[in-house]
Symmetry: C2
Subunit: 244 residues, 2 copies
DNA sequence: TTAATAGTGTCTCTTAGACACTATTAT
DNA sequence: ATAATAGTGTCTAAGAGACACTATTAA
């Protein structure tokens, strides 16, 4: 709960100044798949500590703001994107000393964005553009990160990555990284990008098409280059769902 | 991270009084299996709001205390138990208004305790005894809970329960609910208690014994009543592990 | 001998994974 | 014709789940 009934914890007639309180922030691990590589959004810090280092986007939770609203706000300040973003809470990092200045408890979130080059309305979908601040923001391939991330952000990122990979196996999270319509090859490339290993084409297609309530064929095809056009599919549910 | 580089978020020379901050608490969903039923630890609130209602044990995170240390402390204040407790972070609940008094962000944890009647050293292992406060604390069967839990604690409990059930399938969390040595029937009853459904005895034993690095037979047997004695087993790892 | 729990094997069905060729298009 | 990607089926091995009887003990 919020308080137990220990006398010292009684909040009736509570004086907000009576106890020292930690700061609460949200950090966002935003992934996207571009150029067949998984990328994460990082911002470069302008001030100490870790000035000049790359860090996850994040910031304070406002007093009247839900945690995922705060995460969404921080993300949109960096990317300008709010629609089509899958957001989920990851873990809360609160070890004393993780921020050298003061006690900071950070609720880490994972965000998944459709690939910026996926032809969504609004050409810069998923493109970081500095947002409301002048800080540098960029998509970094997860297999080629800058040398030292600020704070404990390397650990947060590692957790997000393992969670994403795990969820790929039993949910349809890939929805959140793909445009509304896509080919089975594009879907497979997304899986391969995230898992960082090749998958067998026939087995992959068999499994995806066999999954109950996952994919629907559209009447459209995608024709690309000098090869056979590909059937376009869409996800039955726009939200990621559990797969039995 | 903790701050991005938005000007207003610059914490250099930070004045702790400059921003209003939420309160941060931990809540603990403590499970144990007794009398072939899954139980959760609840405390009765003595003060408003929700005076007289049952609630999860919890309380403020101290300024120099890690989140899971806070959870462990709150739990031990209710149960007196610190050893042999498996504790993991569950989810952070922070919706404005979830506590009618002030903004409270609560980091919920799940704890698993060995059954109190399992013959551990210290006869009251897992028995709640009011701890440092005078509040009433009791183990409630999860299928017969008191009518209305305080705050959003029913949702927290529901989440913990589904997490526990899910983890039973792919980890050895059951370690944390059993004494060091146990029979396969006891192990099966623990699973059935948590999942609230019967399992096939032959399939269950086949699977458990086939699991690599999970169980070890001890040279001991348990003889109980008027029937064949049972082989005692122990877990190879005292910590819950992932099962491939 | 009875009541109570421990312990044991087979069959079927589903799923995962290895594996190679044909189809269609633009140039 | 060639290069490039789409699309397709079979076999095997492993795991999940249905299913019923014998073994050992205390009373």
């Amino acid at each position: 709960m919020d308080t137990n009934t220990v006398l010292g914890d009684d909040l009736t007639g509570y004086d907000p100044a009576a106890f020292e309180r930690p700061s609460v922030t949200v950090d966002v691990v935003a992934f996207t798949a571009k150029n067949d590589r998984l990328h994460v959004l990082l911002v470069r810090r302008g001030v100490a500590p870790f000035a000049g280092a790359w860090a996850l986007p994040g910031g304070f939770v406002k007093m009247d703001e839900d945690l995922d609203d705060a995460a969404r706000r921080e993300l949109s300040e960096e990317t300008g994107l709010t629609a089509n973003v899958h957001l989920e809470q990851l873990y809360t990092f609160g070890k004393p000393g993780r921020d050298p200045r003061t006690r900071v408890i950070s609720v880490a979130h994972m965000a998944l964005l459709p690939a910026p080059d996926s032809g969504l309305p609004g050409a810069l979908a998923g493109e970081p553009h500095g947002g409301t601040d002048a800080a540098e923001a960029a998509w970094w391939p997860v297999d080629t990160l800058p040398p030292a991330l600020a704070f404990d952000h390397a650990a947060i990122l590692a957790l997000a990555l393992s969670r994403l990979r795990a969820k790929l196996g039993y949910t349809s999270v890939a929805v959140a990284l793909l445009p509304p319509e896509f080919t089975l090859s594009e879907l497979q490339r997304t899986y391969e990008t995230i898992l960082a290993r090749p998958l067998d084409k026939r087995n992959f297609r068999k499994k995806m098409l066999a999954a109950e309530g996952l994919l629907e064929a559209t009447p459209r095809q995608k024709r690309d280059g000098a090869h056979r056009p590909a059937q376009l599919f869409r996800f039955t549910n726009r939200e990621p769902v559990f797969l039995g």
